[in-house]
């Protein structure tokens, strides 16, 4: 048996690109992605499996990279937030989050998007309840979640632009109504 901490070879496919890496067995996949591969889109939050900020897809399933060891993912295909867009063309979920305000500070967004992608890949037409359940492990301290669920729903329906237009109109109407209520 090799000594504790001695590096080991791990083979991975990350966002379609094959890698053979010499890594410390005690470096989590989160560290490997951010520090070895410089894919800093995957965020470190609690690092204890409680917030979902570090969510990546492992063979299509949402998993938390802060708790994954390189030895557990040897031979696996990973998708990180950097692999979501198709070149300059954003993924429908990304467009929906941007159009519908499904983010504010943006720190939870990579994890949210990947958890949402895992859902839509297996269930293209989820109910709002199913969306909430799929995102139940991803914490957001800014949005209050409603806009995130709206965005995933709009992306699933393929109606991002229409939903965004509705949101803009609703906001404008709200502003008009508020102005009308304001005493002159």
């Amino acid at each position: 048996m090799s000594g504790a901490g001695e590096k080991q070879v791990v083979r991975l496919t990350v966002n379609g690109e094959d890698h053979e890496l010499l890594v410390r067995p005690h470096a989590t996949v989160l560290e490997l992605l951010r520090e070895d591969l410089r894919l800093t889109g995957t965020k470190h939050g609690c690092e204890l499996g409680e917030c979902g900020a570090c969510t990546v897809l492992v063979d299509g399933q949402a998993q938390l990279s802060c708790l994954l060891l390189p030895g557990q993912v040897d031979g696996a295909c990973l998708t990180t937030i950097e692999g979501l867009a198709d070149g300059p063309v954003l993924h429908p979920l990304q467009r929906a989050f941007a159009a519908l305000g499904g983010l504010q500070c943006g720190y939870c967004t990579p994890g949210m998007l990947l958890a949402a992608k895992a859902l839509l890949d297996t269930n293209p037409t989820p109910s709002r309840q199913q969306i909430k359940e799929a995102l139940a492990g991803n914490l957001c301290r800014c949005t209050g979640y409603a806009a995130i669920v709206d965005a995933v729903e709009a992306a699933a329906l393929g109606a991002v632009e229409a939903a965004a237009q509705d949101a803009v109109e609703a906001a404008a109407l709200g502003a008009v109504e508020a102005a009308a209520r304001t005493p002159r």
Partner: protein, 355 residues
């Protein structure tokens, strides 16, 4: 960044090799399948192995197979897979409810049923960073010699935190263990646990949980109700598993097992005695007194302490509610198909039963 201390990682070739490595390296070695409980605890210095033996990839731990003896689930099957299995859901609704209630979707994609059976006991004085525990003074669960929540206690009072274990016990399930020489032994799920939060499992250090065997569902309804702050992520702060057997409209037997009220799942089936021989309609139809009486008796032996989230008195009150809800949920389920209750292993786990 919160980093792990150095260790070695070996992917076991098979279960027997994993057991052999555990036996060879003693308390320096631990198994890792999903790692969702182990890795955070290693980051906080609660668990300090220098060798991790990977078993999550082993095909021999990844099966779900049914026979006339019931259903066997490999210990490496993920909680997500159990939660999504319609066949299991129809036969063992309580077990599937419990698997689906563990943590969050991403953790259920990694966490396994074997891992959840063996999940570490939890305590507010233990599930803290190394620095926090060092500042207060360590407890007997790790590095110290006193229980911080009950200083006069001679044993560790960290609480059983498995969601699936109480249902497995209520259903009369058994666990198959593999030793270092490849030898197997099968024991009742209830006998996997003992009343000490530090040494809470009875399995030997060199043994690996290979599978869980659920007896044929014949006639048994089951339900699990979990007490927690949020509907996701949280460990149980209390909880009740109920298995209910009927013949026609009459309740034949009822088992109740509590979780998160002490160091091991607490079988309180004797409290269900008043239900035996009564029509289901009485449970569903509003004999509120009967259900309240059973639930009150069920939580009477539970002695939760102030070592988990939320107040311990509230936890006990809510566990009583969980018992009531779980009985109601089980009673509302459609009558399961299959053999009569007796073939389900009613004698294996005891419990209140007719005649």
């Amino acid at each position: 960044m919160l980093r792990l201390p150095p260790f070695s990682f070996l992917r076991a070739r098979d279960v027997a090799e994993a057991a052999g490595l555990l036996a060879e390296h003693g308390d320096q070695a631990m198994l890792v399948a999903g790692g969702t409980d182990l890795v955070p605890k290693m980051k906080r210095g609660q668990l300090t192995p220098t060798l991790l033996v990977g078993v999550g990839h082993l095909a021999e731990l990844g099966h779900v197979s049914a026979s006339d003896r019931g259903v066997e689930i490999g210990a490496g099957v993920t909680l997500a897979r159990v939660a999504a299995d319609a066949r299991l859901g129809a036969a063992y609704p309580g077990y599937v409810q419990a698997a689906a209630s563990v943590s969050s979707p991403a953790l259920r994609n990694a966490g396994t049923i074997g891992g959840n059976l063996c999940v570490d006991t939890r305590c507010n004085y233990y599930d803290m960073s190394f620095e926090w525990r060092q500042a207060l003074g360590f407890c007997m669960k790790k590095d110290g010699d006193v229980c911080r929540v009950a200083p006069a206690s001679t044993y560790c009072r960290a609480i059983a935190s498995s969601d699936t274990a109480p249902v497995a016990i209520a259903l009369g399930a058994t666990v198959v263990l593999v030793g270092p020489g490849g030898q197997r032994r099968e024991l009742a799920a209830a006998d996997l646990y003992q009343d000490d939060g530090r040494c809470y499992l009875t399995k030997q250090p060199g043994e690996v949980v290979e599978s869980l065997r659920l007896p044929p569902p014949g006639g048994w309804r089951s339900a699990y109700v979990k007490v927690r702050r949020r509907h996701a992520i949280d460990f149980p702060l209390g909880g009740a598993a109920v298995a209910l057997a009927t013949t026609g409209p009459i309740i034949e037997a009822c088992r109740i097992v509590l979780t998160a009220v002490g160091p091991r799942p607490l079988d309180v089936s004797a409290a269900a005695e008043p239900l035996v021989g009564r029509p289901l309609a009485e449970v569903l139809g509003g004999d509120v007194g009967l259900l309240a009486e059973v639930a009150a008796a069920a939580v009477k032996p539970a002695k939760p302490l102030d070592n988990a989230d939320l107040h311990y008195v509230w936890r006990k009150q809510m566990t009583r509610r969980a018992v009531e809800q779980a009985i109601r949920q089980a009673a509302r389920q459609p009558a399961p198909h299959g053999a009569p209750a007796a073939t389900f292993g009613a004698d294996a786990a005891g419990g209140a039963k007719r005649g």
